[in-house]
Subunit: 313 residues, 2 copies
């Protein structure tokens, strides 16, 4: 284990190599926003496409293949370091990660905003919200925990503490919550205005919640997801929302499940109140810890709990 | 990249640390075979449970929890190095990997067999077969390759060679073939007798096939899976089969899909003949390369092809 900690010291705490090699495949977002039909509009628009990884070569190829060279200038570099010839009217970036903030690509976007977005310019997305709901997760609980009670007629319960550590200590990404698994109406617990959010705000973000359960069931944990809003460039125009929640078409982000250590039986009209705190890791800058506090109050019981979930360190 | 090759030289080509930490979770197999009900039989049976990883502590705990200490002796060590007090009548091991041989745990089992199975003793599994079928894979092809043709109304075809390399150069593990996707009846292409198989045989294994297509469609690739057979300990008793194919209950192995570089239109009554060769990597001893040769002959066309798939090096 001494070897392991030496290795950690030598590693780049931003993990940029891994990060950029993953995100290098996300080309095409700028291209998809280009108006195809109106040549007059095309001539007025100047797009600077910024890509840090070697995927930039493919971006250039795609711009050429789609005859957009007069509109799109492709620049290689990090958004926070790049030099643009001028300030811009709109800054577009797909920076969202699991549970909204994971990987903290949003920092690069905020730094680029402060340097290159003109006064009064538009951020896309313009705002973002993290949504939470207390939920059941019978199937996941049964697969990962209840399974050990009597597999093949034998008593495997001594392995349950291992299973708890293996499966419930960290959040489950890629969860698709069934509509019937929510115990209450979801609530936005953290809201970000992309025009005013500061990098320093990312170190610790806190939200409060108070849910009134609309049915009885088993409280296995909380499911979280995010939505982002693109404000219209036209005065009074309707915003466009991308919602990654269970009532929308599934996206590759899916939802994130935070499992309690022990399921709790709850009843309709019980209240679950508490808070969520997202603390950015001071060393591993792409990671965070999510801490949930909850109080259950109802006519049959009172219970409280707290649990912290590293994502991933 | 010089750094990378130095790193590779220092790495253990058996990758034992990764391997044993993964397989340490597979306890419980021996326990599940124990007769629970008949105390007379229990007293006659002696089980030596061999586990290389630190999971051995949990194995001991489970033996105790299920009151089997008089039957099961848990020994820590590698199957190929362990000392047993006596030769055994039956050797049981779950050594199968994706595409049957991946990770080559079978080698440890053969070495243990040669040292510790008594003359005329029984191997469980007793035999194993790798099965192959030419198939369609419209959905996978469409997701990974056809997608780039016109996403969001733009021409992304310059990325197709990258997608080919990313998704079709290696086999797809965890494929669940739809029954309607098979173009012919599956055929066993490699059969192993666990009583006579030799470690040296594992270096290169070859099988031949000749499929007669029972429907027209698109030949996207081959799907492979395995089955294993447990012969009865009683003279004339029926064997028990574990089949991981598409007509059986899905297992965690699922099936393995080998995609051609280009889909080929085929017709009912066409023949696809050829061979499969599994070559064990001479350096990375848990890895192999699967090479497929095929000839399509029909009344409308003749075509032939060859492709090698590393798993994973
Ligand atoms: Ca993202
Ligand atoms: Ca296995």
């Amino acid at each position: 284990s001494q070897g392991a900690s030496e290795e950690e010291e030598e590693e780049d705490a931003w993990q940029d190599e891994e990060y950029y090699s993953t995100y290098g495949t996300l080309v095409g977002f700028f291209e998809s926003l280009l108006p195809q039909k109106n040549a007059a509009i095309r001539q007025q628009i100047i797009v600077y496409a910024v890509e840090a990884s070697s995927m930039v070569e493919h971006t250039r190829e795609l711009v050429k293949q789609n005859a957009c060279e007069e509109v799109v200038t492709v620049l290689q570099g990090r958004a926070e370091e790049i030099q643009l010839p001028e300030q811009v009217d709109v800054l577009v970036s797909e920076w969202m990660g699991n549970c909204l903030l994971f990987e903290f690509m949003v920092e690069s976007v905020l730094l680029a905003r402060d340097r290159w977005l003109r006064e009064g310019g538009m951020m896309w997305p313009s705002s973002a919200a993290l949504t939470l709901v207390p939920c059941q997760a019978h199937q996941y609980y049964s697969e990962k925990m209840a399974f050990w009670e009597k597999p093949y007629g034998l008593d495997f319960t001594p392995l349950q503490p291992l299973a708890l550590q293996e499966f419930f200590a960290k959040p489950k990404f890629s969860h698709l919550m069934e509509p019937g698994d929510r115990l209450a109406s979801p609530a936005d617990v953290i809201c970000l205005d992309m025009h005013t959010l500061q990098v320093a705000d990312l170190e610790e973000m806190q939200g409060k919640f108070q849910f009134r359960l609309d049915k009885s069931g088993v409280f296995h944990g909380f499911t979280a997801w995010f939505s982002v809003c693109f404000n219209s460039l036209e005065e009074g125009g309707a915003p466009v929302e991308l919602n990654t929640g269970p009532d929308s078409e599934p996206t590759h982000w899916k939802q994130t499940l935070f499992m309690l250590d022990e399921p709790v039986s709850v009843h309709a009209a019980d209240r679950i109140s508490g808070s969520i705190i997202l603390r950015r890791n001071p060393v591993w800058r792409r990671h965070l810890t999510v801490t949930l506090h909850w109080d259950i109050s109802g006519h049959t019981q009172e219970a409280a709990g707290m649990k912290s979930f590293p994502m991933w360190r």
